[in-house]
Assembly symmetry: C3
Homo-oligomer: 259 residues x 3
Amino acid sequence: MSGSVTQTTDGSVATVVIENEGRLNALSLPMWRQLRQAFEGLSHDRDTVRCIVLRGAGEAFASGADIAEFERERYDIESARAYGKAIHPALVAISNCPHPVIAMIHGPCVGGGLEIASRADIRIAGEGARFGVPVNRLGLVVAYAELKALLDIVGPSVALEMLLEGKIVGAKDAASMRLVNRVVPDAKLENEVYETAKRISEGAPLAARWHKKFVRRLLEPKPLREDELDESFDCFGTEDFKIGYRAFLEKKKPQFKGR
Amino acid sequence: MSGSVTQTTDGSVATVVIENEGRLNALSLPMWRQLRQAFEGLSHDRDTVRCIVLRGAGEAFASGADIAEFERERYDIESARAYGKAIHPALVAISNCPHPVIAMIHGPCVGGGLEIASRADIRIAGEGARFGVPVNRLGLVVAYAELKALLDIVGPSVALEMLLEGKIVGAKDAASMRLVNRVVPDAKLENEVYETAKRISEGAPLAARWHKKFVRRLLEPKPLREDELDESFDCFGTEDFKIGYRAFLEKKKPQFKGR
Amino acid sequence: MSGSVTQTTDGSVATVVIENEGRLNALSLPMWRQLRQAFEGLSHDRDTVRCIVLRGAGEAFASGADIAEFERERYDIESARAYGKAIHPALVAISNCPHPVIAMIHGPCVGGGLEIASRADIRIAGEGARFGVPVNRLGLVVAYAELKALLDIVGPSVALEMLLEGKIVGAKDAASMRLVNRVVPDAKLENEVYETAKRISEGAPLAARWHKKFVRRLLEPKPLREDELDESFDCFGTEDFKIGYRAFLEKKKPQFKGR
């Protein structure tokens, strides 16, 4: 049993579930590939999907790469590089997904699990969630791209504190470290996340995708080109702007079409 | 009645007021132009002005671009681009103003109002202030430059949370999101802001301008040139340094001249 | 009496002490040079040292450059530039030191003292610590490189608030400004810091150095080269990875060798 990453869709909200029973949803190599496929598939669906919830099954978010696999898959520099070629694109697929992604975090969110959560746009945690990247106990290092995703969220002081000490912190500390956007009681987590997804889905989908794209772009150091800057005005040519503007004037709730 | 942006000066502290009565200080096109003129004018006055307070009249800071104007001014890509050519320089004029700028925020500070506040150096809010950029309900997008100003302050997680959810948050949440530097009771806001302005004005004006200039420069991704790095030492050639140093030795309060 | 910077080593934890009795550990020119030498020396020792604690003697962390020296050493642009050539490499030596550095902060940590603390990887403060850079009262400016170190930690709003107002803040405010990672009662500070140093020392030393190196590198705006990205996999070729992996499987505490 090597676990699986599955997806379901309910209206405009898709849910991606990481599951590896009895292993705190540790990710096997096939699961990393499925994670990539799930997000790449959802990325192509611009008609139905308006928000994605990313979560773990059972009592955890995800506990990272499956260390039991290391002997076979990740035992030296070459094999680790090959393994990295499966992990990295899965994480990039989350970042590059045009749809807003909410990480719904309960229980352990550690190692690769935290790398996954770092790629979401919004992180909402239950009070019992736990966070950390204790790879210093394995003699391992978070790769540059994954480290950048963490650094963009929490800054250098917190990132180094977590990595150098290898500490596991609770949800309340994670919130004050800015690892998560907000913390709610475990029993209310699912409701809070899906209410947030609903709120996002009711907004204009193209505006959401542009905002996500623009924020990601600004996190890259290279200067913006003129044609990129000009894209800021394209929203005024959409049907959704006309819908939103009319609804505003009529004090009604807009029904956006995503075009 | 399309509102106005006016300014007054009391000693070394200038105040710029955004006013559009009955419209929560929504900014009309003429008001964006006046906002630009106010800051460009104050930027040239390096003798008198040492600090600028930017505030709204009545019960609001500012509620953004005046949506009532959209039908005439901002109805498609071309007209929006032209409108952007009025808004953007006003915001840049605040960022590029050599003097320290404090945003005094009471009541709504939303949409373009928050874009304006993001350009200030220090944001102080009353407890009743409210913040948000709910343009996802209009199908609109915050342009790159304005998004960067927000991102520099709050980082990607909070920026995306605000933009994707389109939520309006209170002053306390805004402080924990780092949108504002501090929150005080509404009745004490004016006093807190002008006390801060006084404290800033009593410091060396050239040091304040260099600090502001250096921080803004470091937020741009391009590497620093040698001559820029060397500017760090110019302060040692100023009369104010001699004044400050002597006052320090004599345990007196320095009276800086700004040269 | 011009003070001194000294160092001791206890097992894998080195301690660097800033001392200038009766002057709140203000740093004289010889002390800046000693600070540089201490960190450059420790940087070369990759066999014994796994963590460095940087602290002040007596009742302060450090109160910055010794202003009493200014008349002789820093009285105009040229002399200040020469003085900068002593200060800056000391600060760079802390940043570039491959070992994790914890700043243990009690009492005043102001001006150059805060510039020093900003170069550490983790900052832990006692409740009585005080922070600020009140150079606006002297007519002086924090140089670009030192400002960048502060900005990387606290962001532009807090940096400008500190510099423009010249305020001195307590430990609790410093924590909410993210100037320090955590605050403990003064009486527990030493214990907290050395427990943290122990925790760091027990992790894989090479992983710690890579993490520190990677975080520092990501704070520079220039894009990563392919060979830099590839360094992320080198850890899988180390003896420490084998040690860590075996210890994980055997549920034992790993004894890393640093190679």
